[in-house]
């Protein structure tokens, strides 16, 4: 739909980066309209994870191709690979159900989902307006803080933008893990989770405890409803947000309409312009929003969302500073394994650990810990209360120092 669309304005967060002297030198691949978690659903083709790619190379030199590859995650997979491969200093993504943290995990990067409202959404094409945030992908925590301090802040063009004046986040070398109360939610070890991930989680929690943090188990009882809840709210917003794509003012317009009416023009344009994932979600969303279904699905989902949000509130009130959880269920799967499940099923599986932070609007950060037995990154996640980015980043920095994750380095010829 937007293949040849050139935006007539610049997004606020990008404007801020340019204003601070950043050089923007490209746009990256993603799942169409942010719907997906593998960066496969793109008319430009899939993006391959740079990690573990050599294993599948066939042929040599410039004629080599790949028999298979590891997926970079999604939907912001292109941005993750760009940063992981060293092409750029940092990249922006978006995070609605985990779309920044998921690829960060698979590509061994810091992936920050900021507090909802901290970064302006003016210029972010909406997926789910009430959950979307621009995301930040970097190789180190320091880089992440640098970018965050530039792009955060109130924007009058975004009515959901936070108006308060928050000081810049400072990564302090004196920050200590001593006394930081970290919670380990029971519900986050889900069926199908890779044993290596679970082991990594345990081991790192022990490291935290040894470093002086108070680590203890706790519960987020409504976690298991998060996926179903998202499965209703997402399509509803999608159906609404995609209604503007009719090909009249911008974007793809079908060159040969079969029917001689405005309705016919719309239908064909939208059929041609959207992939099957987008169309499926539009239909589902319209179904849920029908008058007779509204209370059964949409209203119910809103109530469950409130319960999930309240779970987190209770946790912060009971004294926990942060939560420590897995972020993806495994290291990066291969493309051939990944496509065994369809898009909808796949996203409902992969979003398990990341989704609930978007429900509650709270910040979450994916950080790489170690390589698994296959040499692929394993990452874990920190979740904090609203506007706790300073604490999140400082704790992440401590962990980063301790685990010393082996970043990719370019090898000179």
């Amino acid at each position: 739909m937007l293949q040849n669309f050139i935006p007539p304005y610049t997004a606020r967060v990008v404007e801020k980066l340019i204003g601070a002297g950043a050089i923007v030198f490209g746009k990256t691949n993603m799942d169409e309209f942010g719907m997906g978690c593998g960066t496969l659903e793109s008319i430009f083709g899939p993006t391959k994870n740079v990690w573990g790619l050599e294993e599948y190379r066939i042929g040599g030199g410039e004629l080599s191709s790949f028999s298979d590859w590891r997926i970079p995650g999604g939907s912001s997979g292109g941005s993750a690979v760009a940063v992981a491969s060293g092409i750029c200093f940092a990249a922006l993504g978006s995070d609605t159900g985990g779309s920044t943290r998921n690829p960060a995990s698979y590509c061994g990067l810091i992936g920050l989902k900021p507090t909802y409202g901290l970064l302006s959404r003016h210029g972010l094409i909406p997926l789910v307006n009430s959950m979307d945030v621009p995301g930040i992908l970097t190789r180190t925590v320091d880089d992440c803080a640098t970018i965050l301090n530039v792009v955060k802040g109130f924007d009058e063009n975004d009515s959901t933008s936070f108006e308060g004046n928050l000081p810049p986040v400072q990564i302090s070398p004196h920050f200590s893990l001593k006394g930081v109360r970290i919670g380990i939610p029971d519900e986050f070890s889900c069926p199908g989770m890779d044993p290596e991930v679970i082991q990594c989680w345990k081991d790192t929690s022990d490291i935290l405890e040894k470093s002086g943090a108070c680590v203890s188990p706790m519960s987020l009882p409504h976690t298991k409803y998060s996926i179903a809840c998202y499965g209703v709210l997402n399509p509803c917003e999608v159906a609404s947000n995609m209604a503007r794509y009719d090909g009249l003012r911008y974007g793809h317009r079908t060159p040969h309409p079969k029917l001689n009416s405005t309705q016919g023009l719309y239908a064909q344009t939208r059929h041609e312009g959207f992939n099957h994932v987008v169309r499926g979600r539009i239909l589902a969303g319209n179904y849920f929003l029908l008058k007779e279904n509204y209370d059964k699905y949409f209203m119910q989902a809103l109530k469950i969302r409130r319960l999930i949000s309240m779970d987190f509130e209770k946790v912060w009130h009971s004294g926990f500073d942060l939560l420590f959880t897995p972020v993806t269920l495994s290291a990066a799967p291969t493309y051939s394994d990944f496509i065994q499940l369809d898009n909808r099923t796949q996203t409902s599986v992969q979003d398990y650990c990341t989704q609930s932070a978007n429900m509650a609007g709270i910040p979450a950060l994916s950080l790489p810990i170690k390589l698994n037995s296959k040499g692929l990154p394993l990452s874990l996640q920190l979740i904090g209360p609203m506007f706790s980015e300073p604490k999140l980043l400082n704790v992440a920095k401590c962990i980063e120092r301790i685990v010393d994750f082996p970043q990719l380095k370019s090898i000179p010829r």
Partner: protein, 530 residues
Amino acid sequence: MRTPSILNKLKFGHYLIPKDFNLVGGIRSFIPRPEGWESVIGIEVHAQIDTNSKLFSSSEVKYGAPVNTKVSLFDAAIPGTLPVLNRKCVEAGILTSLALSCQINKVSYFDRKHYFYADLPTGYQITQQRKAIAYDGHCKFIVYTPGFHKKPYYSTAKIRQIQLEQDSGKSIHDLNSNRSLIDLNRAGLPLMEIVFEPDLKDGEEAAALVKELSDILLSLGTCNCKMEEGSLRVDANISVNRHGEGLGTRTEVKNLNSVRALVNAIEFEVRRQIQVIEAGGVIVNETRSYDSQMKETLPMRDKEVKQDYRFMPEPNLPPLRLVDIPDEEADSALVNIAQVRQRLPELPEMKRQRLVQKFNLNIGMAILIMNTPGFLTYFESVMELLPLPSGVRVAKVLHKVAIPALSEQDIDLDSCPIPHHVFAELYKLVESDTLNLVKAHEVFILLLNGDSRNPAQIVTDKVWMKVNDDEAISTICLQILSENSAVRAKYKTTKHEKHVNKLMGAVRKATAGKYDMRKVDICLRKFLQE
């Protein structure tokens, strides 16, 4: 299908209107309905808020601007743009709601109403469905069409709610080239939708309500109420039922762009519905449009299927929160209802009551004064120079002398060049029985054309003083009667009034209108009896 009996009913059917309709309004409509039928009407008014920019974007609001020049990125639904609420629109909404005696919701929400149409760029309209800014109000209005209603009566229409919402763009269908032309200048313009309960009985009442509402909105400055420009649009919900039965199925008539269209559309639709039912048919709940050339309502093709608008809360706009802090010093980032309340001006009904109380006018005259451009201001200024009790007569002289003279030159009282004190002098001459109205009219015209003498001087110079002398009147009456013996004879046989009028006319002509015509009348009739 019409049968002769129905035709007869419509042509000759009527019921007797009770003689003394009091000011509360009768149970039945003044407009005759076929025996046993009554009509029920409720209107929905869309009023464009008169602000500089649109409801959610900073595009300029300007009627008649070149096509598609007042369209921001948000108005064109460019991806990634977000709505930002215009504070002045909220204040206008509150001011209007207060003037219409509504309850204000301190928290209200915005929703998306989805449908596909070429003039709706986002594919949804941002409106207020769950909880609007105001509810439960009413509008008291006077129904009085001179020549139609015997005397004015009050009625009240309750208001269900007032909501803020976006206007759509405009589309023109070019059937010759088989294309539609879309102008988005109007897309996103702020509207107040005022939803009335079905409290109206006929088209004239609807017209009166719209008139009063327009006067109120104009005095508030929240809407310029130009129906012909589309800044005020009215939809009518119409149903009929037999006396004693419940409400019938209603139809909705949209796109009425003048008060006359409103009245005619309602009256046509009422007649149509009655015809259909009496012929054995049923009324379908449908949307119809009005053809002002054929003066009939027609079904609207695209609205045949019932629409499900799939309402969803607008996620990009937080709830609209208002405060009500009477403290004058209060400086609130939130819109303060109390501060808006202070800006309420004197509303039309208050003005009318004030005229009635202060000058002892009857309500009909008060209505006339307020409905005639410039009358109120001119009248009040003149009255500052004259004693209060003369108000009634001053109004009468303005009405019978000034207005006709000015309208001949196509000007209103607000552009009347005659200074107030000069008019006051003219009035005093009439009051003191020195001048009759016929001659007063002629003096006024002279003044209008630039005569710089004061009225008393003109009257003296032209010898236009009123002749009251009984003897002179007797003389002229006898003279006219002797010159018109044929007319006198005709009157003797037929006793028809027109003969008296003819004689009166002759007297007026012969005396250049100076004589006291009331006395002439009495005198003539006395002689005719003999």
